[in-house]
Symmetry: C2
Subunit: 79 residues, 2 copies
């Protein structure tokens, strides 16, 4: 069962990568209000049910995938 | 209007970051079949309709956000 973990910088954190992309795009006359850059981790787990899978992925995310001080994450069920 | 661009390494490409996370998790006795790591870019665009917004974001993605040789991307409408 495949899950995605979307990890984004917290709103209060200066997102330097996002700022850089935003400036590049604006410099090329693209119209945009804001841009933030995060990570996306796809994990395939051997789970019997969606609830079990989510729980496994949540444990992994809490353990190693994100830094709670500067990031927030969200788990999505994929295809 | 907010859109997300999920950018993942192509299947045929060796995903070193994903491999590293996979090994770390397996080394800690987490059960998983595979893991791939990509990027997620959230862009807020001043679009009147979803179609227009998608089109704007697609142009940005094609222009600067991803490398077609090694990555694939997917646009999602966010909240």
């Amino acid at each position: 069962m495949k899950f995605g973990v979307k990890i984004m910088p917290r709103e209060v954190i200066l997102d330097t990568q996002g700022r850089a992309v935003e400036q590049t795009l604006k410099g090329q006359s693209f119209r945009l209000d804001s841009c933030r850059v995060g990570k996306f981790v796809e994990i395939d787990v051997p789970a019997a049910t969606e609830a079990e899978g989510r729980d496994m992925v949540k444990k992994m995310a809490d353990f190693v995938l994100y830094n709670p001080l500067i990031e927030v994450y969200e788990i999505q069920r994929l295809g």
